[in-house]
């Protein structure tokens, strides 16, 4: 390493990256736990709301499902 004089670190270098026990969004398999997201890349209204989402899905199966915000 460099010959620069540096202080003692206050924290471990990788401290902010992950706290044990907290769900990791990137973890393989996490995608299928995402509400309203389908594995084929589509989504339904459950993605946007948990309140009677089925009522907000399109009325015909031929229509694309475009959940609001």
């Amino acid at each position: 390493m460099a010959e620069i004089r540096v202080g003692k670190p206050d924290v471990r270098l990788d401290l902010p990256s992950h706290t044990k026990g907290v769900h990791q969004g990137n973890k393989t398999g996490a995608y299928r736990h995402e509400a309203g997201h389908h594995l084929d890349g589509t989504a339904d209204a459950r993605r946007s709301t948990g309140i009677r989402p089925k009522r907000r899905n399109p009325i015909l199966p031929i229509m694309p499902n475009l959940p609001p915000g």
Partner: protein, 599 residues
């Protein structure tokens, strides 16, 4: 500015009368770029130039040991102007290391964010910073005879922008007062909003991660973006017309002005805007997906395209020392000896670099900068080329035009030019602009390319919106991919920061970063003399440059030198301070550690 004056007889021309002049800092955010020159006023030329940086950042030092998933967020903080380019580049490098790719919609969203960033940053830099050097107030001060000519020179594109003479255009660029200056600030605001729609926050994105984005892909997202884009489209058409008029006038009014900031055509572009249909982020197929990018990567030497292969570009990168405050790392352990294709990786490649900073006093005869000297080794000649980025757009348009690969509904490369079609706006009709490869690599052509690239980014954004909206309408709204951080892995990301080439090289060991080296454009452009004595692009462009300013040494503004340096879009060019000695004794204090005792 120092004032030591020396006289000596030159073999040719008048006796040299050298005056040392320095601009330190030439800065935009923080004071870290200095230009030190010796000007020969008798022969009106710059005799010598050194470019120096007084700031050590050390990202490559403190990234070690961190979680690689944090890299995008940390490296974004390298810059307060193009942080998102770092995030994007880091995401590209991480995707390669993790063996994943972004879903197509995420890729279009990133492309849209980056296109907005180019529009935002180039507009604010060109109209609010570069044009301060070409505005009426400045030209009146430095070249009154040119302004006199401008008052009678008709503007050829008056029908597009509405200004009758060149002097009227120049007046519109006067800082804080000029019409265009003020309008450009509004446009920057709108383009910044476009950016925030896609990447969450400017300039450090909150919704761009490896494996995708967190932007919610609703139809409104794209229509909000599109409506803002259509509001600025006429401004872009007018800007191109005004820039062309002013720059053509400068060539005409000051014969020989093409020599300002001129250097050998040595350009590098690392490509931008991935094509989700092709990109898989595997190193083995990097050549294929690199060529599919919407800005073609490449290296241009003397007007000839040497390569468009990202693997060649990657393997040719060498980080040289020579005038930089670092110890050599050749005796350290290498991290990557062979790339995934089996090609040997040099010890001076960023994958193998170890940063060993050695703070010391600045000495122009020896070491004088914190910037290292990135070079590209020509595979045939073996030369270590000091590539520049031409401020970004110049190299991007140059390689894209020569490579002749980009073919989208709004932007087409032709082999010698790039054709950009912009649709009808609020007032102006549908317009096709054409950027043609110019004869020189000089200050004016770098500046001109910038405004054309704003049009390029706007036209590309239209294409990306159509693609993105197409996926959303089909219900394909997947925007992220999950992944596992590997125990070991390597990755490299190639992208274009606003002002030019950007690469991130990453090595992962034990799920942590073992080595991480971002190489943004300013180290390429602002590099000092390397071990072989080759000057960096700023130094090269300014050295031996003629001076057209009418002022003498006493009230010298250095406008031609500023135009030359600023044409590269140094990520730091707004606060130019010039120190006038006027016979005062100046005490030179140099403290690379900002006063901290280096005991």
């Amino acid at each position: 500015m120092a004032t030591s004056v020396t006289s000596k007889q030159k073999a040719l021309g008048k006796p040299e009368q050298l005056v040392e002049m320095s601009w330190d800092p030439i800065t935009r955010i923080i004071g870290n770029l200095g230009i030190y020159t010796k000007i020969d006023f008798a022969n009106r030329r710059v005799a010598e130039c050194h470019s120096t940086s007084s700031l050590f950042r050390g990202y490559s030092v403190f990234m070690k040991g961190k979680d690689p998933r944090d890299a995008g967020f940390i490296t974004s903080r390298i810059c307060g102007i193009c942080g998102d380019n770092h995030t994007t580049c880091s995401v590209y490098a991480q995707n390669m290391a993790y063996g994943i790719k972004n879903p197509p919609l995420a890729e279009w969203i990133i492309n849209l964010g980056e296109a907005a960033e180019y529009m935002f940053d180039h507009t604010i830099f060109q109209d609010n910073l570069v044009f301060v050097d070409f505005c009426e107030a400045m030209v009146k001060d430095t070249n009154p005879s040119v302004l006199k000519k401008a008052k009678t020179a008709e503007a050829p594109n008056a029908a597009v922008h509405g200004y009758r003479t060149i002097a009227e255009i120049m007046a519109a660029f006067n800082p804080f007062e000029g019409e265009v200056y003020k309008e450009a600030l509004q446009v920057s605001r709108i383009t910044r909003e476009m950016f925030c729609l896609m990447e969450g926050r400017h300039v450090h994105p909150s919704t761009v991660y490896p494996g995708g984005v967190g932007t919610m892909p609703t139809p409104t997202l794209f229509t909000d973006y599109l409506s803002r884009l259509m509001r600025v489209i006429d401004f872009i058409k007018k800007s191109v017309a005004m820039n062309d008029d002013v720059f053509d006038f400068f060539y005409e009014a000051l014969p020989g002005y093409e020599e300002v900031g001129r250097r050998r055509i040595l350009l590098g572009c690392w490509g931008a805007f991935q094509d989700p249909d092709v990109v898989d982020y595997r190193y083995e197929t990097m050549d294929r997906w690199g060529k599919a990018m919407h800005v073609t990567p490449g290296v241009v030497v003397d007007g000839e395209l040497v390569t468009t292969n990202l693997v060649d570009i990657n393997l040719g990168i060498r980080i040289l020392l020579g005038s930089s405050f670092y110890d050599d790392w050749v005796n350290e352990d290498p991290f990557v000896t062979r790339d995934p294709l089996g090609n040997p990786v040099d010890m001076r490649h960023p994958w193998n670099q170890t940063t060993l900073p050695v703070p010391q006093k600045r000495d122009f005869g020896d070491k004088y900068s914190w910037v290292m000297s990135p070079r590209w080794k020509h595979p045939q000649t073996g030369e270590h080329l000091a590539l520049d980025t031409g401020g970004g757009p110049f190299a991007r348009l140059y390689t894209t035009a020569l490579a002749n690969l980009v073919d989208t509904p709004y932007v087409k490369a032709t082999g010698s030019s790039v054709r950009i079609s912009l649709p009808k706006g609020e007032k102006l009709p549908e317009t096709t602009l054409e950027w043609r490869i110019p004869q020189w690599s000089n200050a004016i052509e770098r500046d001109r390319a910038r405004v054309y690239f704003v049009a390029y980014a706007a036209a590309m954004a239209l294409h990306f919106v159509e693609q993105g909206l197409g996926l959303v309408h089909a219900g394909e709204t997947k925007i992220f991919e999950d992944f596992e951080v590997p125990d070991e892995g390597i990755g490299c990301g190639f992208h274009e920061a606003v002002r030019g080439v950007l690469s991130h090289h990453l090595v992962i060991k034990d799920k942590k970063i073992a080595n991480y080296h971002p190489y943004p454009p300013t180290p390429w452009n602002g590099s000092p003399r390397d071990i072989y004595g080759t000057p960096g692009p700023y130094e090269d462009a300014v050295q031996d440059m003629p001076i057209f300013e009418e002022n003498g040494p006493d009230d010298f503004r250095g406008i031609d030198i500023m135009r030359a340096v600023r044409s590269f879009d140094p990520c730091l060019p707004c606060g130019v301070h010039m120190y006038l000695g006027k016979g005062r004794t100046l005490q030179k204090v140099h403290s690379p550690m900002f006063g901290q005792n280096n005991a």
